[in-house]
Amino acid sequence: MVKKVQALVIGAGPAGLCGSIAMAESGVEVLVVDEGIKPGGQLPKQTHKFFGHEGFFASIRGFEIGDKLYKRAIDLKVKFKMKTTVSGIYEDGIVLYDRDKEEAYDIKADFILIATGASERFISFKKNYLPGVYGAGAVQTLMNQYRVLPGKDFLIVGAGNIGLIVAYQLLQAGANVKAIVEASDKVGGYLVHANKVKKMGVPILLRHTIVEAIGEDKVRGAVISEVDEKFRPIKGTEKELVVDNICLAVGLQPSVELAAQARAKIEYIPELGGYVPYRDENMKTSVDNVYIAGDIASIEEASTAMIEGYIAGYNIAQKVTGKDLSEKIEKMKIELEEFRRGPFSLKVRRGLKKFGINYPEGGYRTEQQKDDGPAGKLRVKIECPQNIPCNPCETSCPTGAISVGGNINGIPHVNYDKCIGCGVCVMKCPGLAIFLIQEQEKHSIVGIPYEFELPEAQERVLLLNKNGEIVGEGEVEKVVKNNKGKTHIVFLKIPKGLENEVRHFSKIKLEDDEIVCRCEEITKSQIEEAINEGFTDFEELRRYLRISMGPCGGRVCRLQTLSIISMKTGIPISELESGRFRPPSIPISFKAIIRGDEKDEI
């Protein structure tokens, strides 16, 4: 006998889960089908904190959001069939294919919410068939769900939010990201995401693309090149990178197959991601009992997917139960309207206009805060220059010192009279874009949000700016751990004047075999030991250890040695003596001098 459900939700991502919750809350019997192992769609792969507002889990990491939504759905008696693919929507039923049990069977549903999300786009380049060319989603699945790192050295193609986030996650997992190439002339993703990787030294190469993968059996490198205004590679600008993984993050396209099979009208709207089902503002397609939500409707992000899920869910519930849910629906529509006012929703607004759905724009604060607050006070510095729909800084502040100025897309401003420097917002900000600063008598303090292996207090560190360049060295003052949110704050003692420069740091490696002077094989620990013994001049160290006494004459080791002295003694390099630069600058044989002396002409 053919089974029948009141509502079938296809896809257990944020849209599908919220849709199922909305329906189940109202007493609808819901079945959620998903091909994945774990509910949540892309959420279980996401280890970063989400933007938005706390009503939609802003500041919570993706995988935790998935867990929370799933738990809520289970509590509401939503039924789940995982590892089950909807293999087709037929005239006579919907076919579910249970991969575990090897069973394909058909069911019927009064209503269908299709929340199948999107699939990754690919681009063509030479040898893109080689093992080692991955989509960003695959990399995330392997790395974050299965804990397998599919490479050591990565090239990421695409500087949208996904490319940037994957790069950051790869760094957290211990991989190297050699570069992010982006064909357009600007970073598509949030600048705060870009800053997270830039400050760790990952170059984002704009107007660059991949032209070829190198390798016979697998990826062993990549050739990238600059592109012209029409995104064509410019000959002669090719560069080779040694990588073993090419990770494509070049965009998403809505997964519309099932909607089409359900006979929903499909239109090509590039602003929404390509082919999308037509839908109205209640998320209803051209077919009365078929609704959509999330990326299938327009490529956006998790907050809007969730809201759309609720809108679709409440609408279906209203029809199934006959209850009036218009208040809830209206509330969600207002949420969506508020989210979509900002510049990052421009394309979606334009795309939806083609369906006759109009969203207002503007009405949020665009001015940046001018002042840094009173010097000497421990206070926050927010570096969030774009109008991102996100406000946990405002909602988390215990003293009400931060405001985004009404609309969630507004630029946050700090009332420095109220800011107490507690650091709660630093730990909450999903963009890791809030820092603590304080000028002290002899040095300054900067507090940095940090999601890597923590340093020890008193540890000396290299200070990096937002582009990952070394601007000096400092010391860890203290580490404030955040066991819940896992965004910790590392407080650094830094030279004065660098409060607005230092945004990251790297630990100074202390391996014994780290050779500084390659000619004479002098290690860093030997140098540090000699400094401890009291040899604090470059020339003294040179004479004591033979640093820079080899054929290179100090080209390799001089500055490195001076940096070590500076770090150990606290004297800026500019105030240290550079040591002698003795001729000959390259080794010259006795024979050469004799021969030269016998010559009459130049």
């Binding site: 004479r543 080794p587 006795f590």
Partner: protein, 378 residues
């Protein structure tokens, strides 16, 4: 701030005096160095330690020093790469050979073991030396060489451990003399009172003397020196010739260090180098040491010989300023004499006169009686 003894100069002499003062129980001592330790002549010298001198007194002072170098590692606590590989002195004329024979007789009387070698014997012993033109050679097996930087650092660190202060990057600008007595010194790091002031300023000895109103008959002359890339260690001795004007040794690390004097040098501090030196050395040295032909020169520098009128050091206590001591004018061999000099000056300061070495003949008043030149100088 007050110290009993202030020493001007952070080279081997200044640090040796500080070390011996400390060893004798006087730790109210400070060394003032305007640059860094061993930054003057000490850190620029060839590092040879020789006892084959032409005057008795120099031989005895050098022999005393060798006793200290032999125990340096144990007593002072630093490995200074000391190696007693001998000194091979090569003579190239009958006259020079005769002088060598005279010297050896005198040296043996002082108890020094010295061999006389014919050119053939030299060739047999050291086949890699071209002995063309050599008339006679002498060889003292207990001569040797060491790393002068490390010796300075060794003395300085040992002194610091005993509580002595070493002020580097501290320049002495004025010496405060009142009623024929030094009261203190004005430095770039402030004023320091002292009971005794020692001039161990090497190349700057004359200027420091002037600050105290004491005329010292020293002049500084540039001497150049270079070092090659390291070769496998096979050349354990120092080879030297006064008439051919060179010295050469292989450091334990493998590099060859060599230099020569230049009669045309004008007095004054000059830390530059000339290519003329490299040309002259290249021609001369590849002829005598043909294995050098393909060896590459790595680094070339210069330092000052603080010359006295007879090429022997000027050691003692001033008559004009009663608590002003000097150990200057080493004329290119301060490093090798430093331990005995350090001991002698420390004894003079603390006991009134040197006990272990007779340095009375090295007082600056000797020049009033006429000059007896030390001949064994490159």
């Amino acid at each position: 701030m007050k110290y009993k003894v202030c020493i001007i100069g952070g080279g081997i002499i200044g640090t040796a005096i500080a070390y011996f003062l400390g060893k004798m129980g006087e730790t109210s001592v400070a060394v003032f160095e305007k640059r860094y330790l061993s930054s003057g002549a000490t850190g620029r010298c060839g590092g040879g330690i020789r006892q084959q001198w032409s005057t008795e007194a120099n031989v005895r002072l050098a022999m005393r020093s060798v006793q200290f170098f032999e125990r340096f590692k144990e007593e002072v606590g630093m490995d200074i790469e000391y190696r007693q590989g001998g000194y091979l002195l090569l003579s190239y004329s009958e006259e020079e050979a005769q002088q060598f024979e005279k010297n050896v007789k005198m040296q043996r009387e002082q108890g020094l073991e010295v061999e006389i070698l014919s050119p053939k014997m030299v060739k047999e012993k050291y086949p890699y030396i071209n002995t063309e033109g050599v008339v006679l050679a002498t060889f003292c097996p207990t001569d040797g060489h060491a790393n002068p930087h490390k010796a300075t650092f060794g003395y300085a660190k040992a002194a610091e451990k005993m509580g002595i202060e070493i002020y580097t990057h501290t320049e002495v600008n004025e010496i405060d003399v009142e009623n024929g007595k030094v009261k203190g010194i004005q430095t770039s790091k402030g004023y320091f009172e002292c009971d005794v002031l020692v001039n161990a300023a090497g190349a700057w000895s004359r200027e420091v003397g002037k600050m105290a109103g004491v005329e010292l008959p020293t002049e500084s002359y540039r001497h150049q020196i270079f070092v090659t890339e390291p070769l496998k260690y096979f050349f354990p001795f120092m080879a030297i010739s006064f008439s051919k004007n060179f010295y050469i040794r292989q450091a334990l690390h493998g590099q060859f260090i060599m230099g020569q004097g230049d009669k045309d040098e004008k007095p004054g501090i000059n830390e530059n180098v000339t290519f003329k030196f490299e040309k002259e050395m290249a021609k001369k040295m590849t002829k005598i040491f043909p294995f050098l032909e393909n060896v590459r020169i790595l680094r070339h520098w210069s330092g000052e010989y603080n010359m006295s009128p007879d090429a022997q050091p000027i050691l003692g206590k001033s008559n004009e300023v009663e608590n002003f001591y000097y150990a200057v004018g080493f004329s290119g061999h301060g490093f090798m004499l430093a331990p005995a000099v350090g001991e002698a000056i420390a004894e003079m300061i603390l006991l009134g006169k040197p006990v272990h070495s007779d340095i009375s003949y090295l007082d600056k008043d000797r020049f009033k009686k006429g000059i007896v030149q030390e001949k064994n100088v490159v």
